[in-house]
Amino acid sequence: MLGPILETLIGGLLTGVLYALVALGFVLIFKASGVFNFAQGAMVLFAALSVARLSEKFPLPIAIVLAIGVMIVLAYAIEFLVLRRLVNQEGIVLFMSTLGVAYFLEGFGQTLWGSDIYKIDLGISKNPIFLFESVFPGGILIDPEEVAAAVICAILVTVLAVFFQVTRVGRALRAVADDHQAAQSVGIPLNYIWLVVWATSGIVAIAAGMIWGSKLGVQFSISLVALKALPVLILGGLTSIPGAIVGGLIIGAGEKLAEILLGPLLIRWFDLAGGGIENWFAYVLALLFLLVRPQGLFGERIIERI
């Protein structure tokens, strides 16, 4: 029994890293501009479509560089056409505008790049790896794509952490995240900072889009991955980059374990037509965590004044 559970746990942790990769994009934008960016899922789809279609014409590295260019142009367009015109509006209005952007991007991406299912070939073998064959009968099965995702995620987080802590732009970003007005008053250009943040989360979306695209095929359903990232986000805390990673690991492991341990019990007790509790378990798990810590695991403490 221990073998399969361990296998599920590892599989879950690795899937969790994939969720974290999407959640990372949300966190970047929320941290720096207070915008709850629902379009992140659509951005992942758009990025994946760009990479997939460009890689048909160019070799993969060039396609990725071109896609980064596309995402920067997109970030500029969003900043210029939407955000700049909604400065000082309430959070809910900004949130709704990103929903509008999400709709637009889903339509635009598929009009521009086509709506078939495309492939991204990262050159990673799809054959599962078996570990610890001597310890457990049959060993533990691990998907190499998920390992690659974990490595990419680790690299991204390190680069982002260095970028935020060391560089000049990173310091400006942290200042804006702390207080818009104070940052503006010491001469940090808000519009430029937002452009940088959206472009960065666009690049994170490319990483997420490539991994998810090579896993599921590049198609419309990739944008739904955002819904998987949301519980990760609130569990870790909306403003914390490490929170997104830890949240992803907890959610990934939790939902996979629940599927094999809790699922069969629920089916037996309530006479269900099949399990599939993955869809809501992550949310309920996040909800329970939030009841104890309303700001998420690593979120900034919410201080309320009158």
């Binding site: 015109r85 339509g107 598929q110 037509a273 809501w280 949310y283 996040a286």
Partner: protein
Amino acid sequence: MFYREAGQFKTTYGSDEAIFPIVQDRWFVIAAIAFAVLVVPLFAGQYLYTEVLIPVLILSLAAIGLNILTGYCGQLSLGTGGFMAVGAYAAYNLALRVPEVNLILVFLFGGLMSMLVGILFGVPSLRIKGFYLAVATLASQFFLEWAFARIKWFTNYAPSGSVAVGPIELFGIPINSPERKYLFVFILVAVLALTAKNLVRSRVGRMWMAMRDMDIAAEIIGIRPLHAKLSAFAVSSFYVGVAGALWGFFRLGSWEPLAFDVNRSFQILFMVIIGGLSSILGSFLGAAFIVLVPIFLNQLPGWLGVGLSTATISHLEFMIFGAMIVFFLIVEPRGLARLWAIAKEKLRLWPFPY
């Protein structure tokens, strides 16, 4: 010139606190209701009923429900679709298992069940706030969607997982034609909208608004957060539940949980935001806008004589819809209801400049 309150003196508290204190407003509302009940059936065809009027009315009711929670009490919710599903399935099960129950009670039962579930999922709102709460309400959406897809009792062990309602009748009159459905929905929605309008003007409504504007300050002046937030969740989910039951019975006829998925929640939220937060009228305007725009976009290529593939059209629809929402938020973040109010202000002076 015609729309002004000069000469209308309020001599009693009653007339000061009336819903429509201005005579012209009163006549306008009466005329609108009379038009909807008496004139519309004279010319409306099946398409107008089933594709435009009935959906607009039912979704307005759901939008009123969400507006009570989000607009008046300030609790952003993304679980509207789930609560609509509760209403629809509760009503279906009551009608199926106790066929002799009156139709109105069936819908009220749908609302009440949704209300109970709403209170349950509203409890976390006492501790979780803002966007954290918004994401947490998605838990109710996904859980309820799952429950209705998997628990066989709810769908009466239907192998396909979809349910269908039988013939509907009220006091022995069968409600089978689109016209009768429309009239029934209209009357129910009108009564509930009037109730909602009065509710938000009452002590309860002011309590919600205080909670929305600043919850700590509201608590200090003696408003119980438990009471205020849970009552908002209860009333809101009641409205949404009734709307869900109506949607299932009169719009769909037979449905599966997919009809109440998360996109439905977003659709209702769009209606509330486009229509105007904390406005009952706005809920109607928003619903009409969100229902009519896709119909219009669908027809547009045909009118222009442009031949486009259906895939392109649906993508363009997404794009235009998204762009319109962004455009609307930029031009008037407070929604259509605000435009209506501005128009009324202007009309008071018209045709004079001051």
